[in-house]
Symmetry: C2
């Protein structure tokens, strides 16, 4: 057998780990609930246990390394989680050193949205494209920027905070302190909040989508508004990066036919670079496995 | 004598060329008016003549190469100016090949704003910082992004169009097709347009600044508005790039004490990454020589 690596995606609700070959073949996968009421030591040991289980089944000798995607800001030099809204008990914890201490294997940390972007660029919709951006629409909006085949980190690992691009200067308030962040106008949560404002009888994004598809004009206006907000942010990214590929992921993608037309109209209007270079704007492919692929790719990339 | 290179900054009103040593010492400088009524062949030959004059005085044997900064979009592979608002007769012209043909010396083309950013990173306010962004406030707003010490080009050379970031979704119209572009709310031209809207008796940016400094409340509101617009764009750049340094250049910089407080307040509010990593936001140093330094640095960088 050739080399493999282990990727971990630590989410607020699930801990998942996968063993993936250097060719991108999924060799094994484990999932367990993330109990956020547990202490940080318990969380670390459950991560280590999942990695250890995969390593035991596939053998230590061919393990290229371990990558761990975590929700939050990471101090890359120190292997430390600086801040995490979803798993606050990991804040300030030297996650890398603690996992390495248990497993005696080198670990690479990465922000979960960055890992997902890297995963799509390795084995997903962005294969073969060195420069691309992934935007994930969920409870919030996460982003990852791949420049020259690698994650763009910025000097403190906080690059790619696409969900906090201002799209409506005096728009909805965001817990980050801003008003009008993209994620307050285009995430799954934003869709639900607009349903409340429009007096719709449903509050789940999926039901709002169904209503819109059946022709409900209020429900359709929600996706119009969400598409416009996304379009403003994408136009800015295209003007600033001029990359050839922008990928979108997450539950709201099922409403593509509703939000894409207004999104593309905004981009067309707001980006000279878009009109002249027509980059691709497409759906990502790997779903919630993107982060696993990306995390697993980290050791291969570091070794290359 | 050690190696030197020749940098050219081709503007809508002036053609300037400079010979600069590998250590960044200015060895000689030439300026001539750009007569935009001339044909493209005449423009090219005047560029070549300026380069030839510097080369004759310093000698061919130590010339590392020639860099030319031009206002417009460049197809980097072909050495072609794809579009230029200021010097339309160069559109579609293979500028690189034509200058090389006359001088028999390799030429590197670069967008003028990118060249200025590179110049500041080489010998200006950004020395020693690998990742930085320069924003130049003039008639319009230009930008250049330096990532890992090099200009970020994007796949068709159109990256760094910071002047066309949307800061007011339904704001002032822009010839690019958008509404609310940064350059329509924060350039020297935008300051002048606001003076008209405010019924001020002066129409030059410098005079509007003087009025504001003498306490005129309407003139002060202009710099308040301009600072807020800049702050929105900078917050987005900081959230997306998390770079350690952002430089501002251009005439309106003399009004720093008027526009910087509202600019920084907007950034503080709109960027979590700014509050947590406090990047530097400073005035550039090289003035209108930044583009010459950057253009001259191109051959050194290509050879390194």
């Amino acid at each position: 057998m050739g080399q493999y690596s282990i990727g971990v995606d630590l989410g607020g609700t699930n801990l998942r780990a996968a063993a993936i070959s250097a060719e991108g073949k999924m060799l094994g996968k484990i999932a367990a609930p993330t109990d956020v009421s547990r202490s940080h030591a318990e969380l670390i040991s459950s991560i280590a246990a999942a990695i250890g289980q995969l390593r035991d089944s596939l053998g230590r000798e061919n393990l290229a390394g371990v990558g761990v995607g975590v929700p939050g800001f990471i101090d890359m030099d120190k292997g430390l989680i600086v801040g995490s809204n979803n798993i606050p008990q990991l804040e300030g914890v030297p996650v890398r050193a603690e996992i390495e201490g248990i497993l005696q294997t080198p670990v690479i940390l990465e922000n979960d949205a960055n890992a997902a972007a890297l995963g799509e660029s390795w084995m997903g919709a962005g294969q073969g494209v060195a420069d691309q951006i992934l935007i994930t629409l969920g409870t919030g909006i996460g982003g990852g920027i791949i420049s020259g085949g690698r994650v763009l980190h910025g000097y403190r690992g906080m690059a790619g905070e696409i969900g906090h691009i201002t799209v409506v200067p005096n728009g909805n308030p965001c817990a980050c302190g801003n008003t009008g962040c993209l994620e307050k106008h285009a995430s799954a949560t934003a869709i639900r909040s607009m349903a409340l404002l429009m007096g719709l009888p449903v509050t789940e994004a999926r039901d709002i989508y169904d209503l819109a598809m059946r022709g409900n004009p209020r429900a359709r206006m929600i996706f119009q508004s969400m598409g416009e907000a996304l379009g403003i942010a994408l136009a800015t990214l295209i003007n600033v990066f001029n990359f050839p590929l922008y990928l979108l992921a997450g539950g709201p993608l099922s409403a593509w036919q509703l939000f894409a037309p207004p999104m593309l109209a905004e981009i067309e209007k707001r980006s000279f670079a878009y009109r002249h270079t027509t980059p691709r704007i497409e759906a990502a492919k790997l779903g919630n496995e993107a982060g696993l692929y990306g995390a697993a790719y980290l050791p291969f990339q570091a070794g290359s």
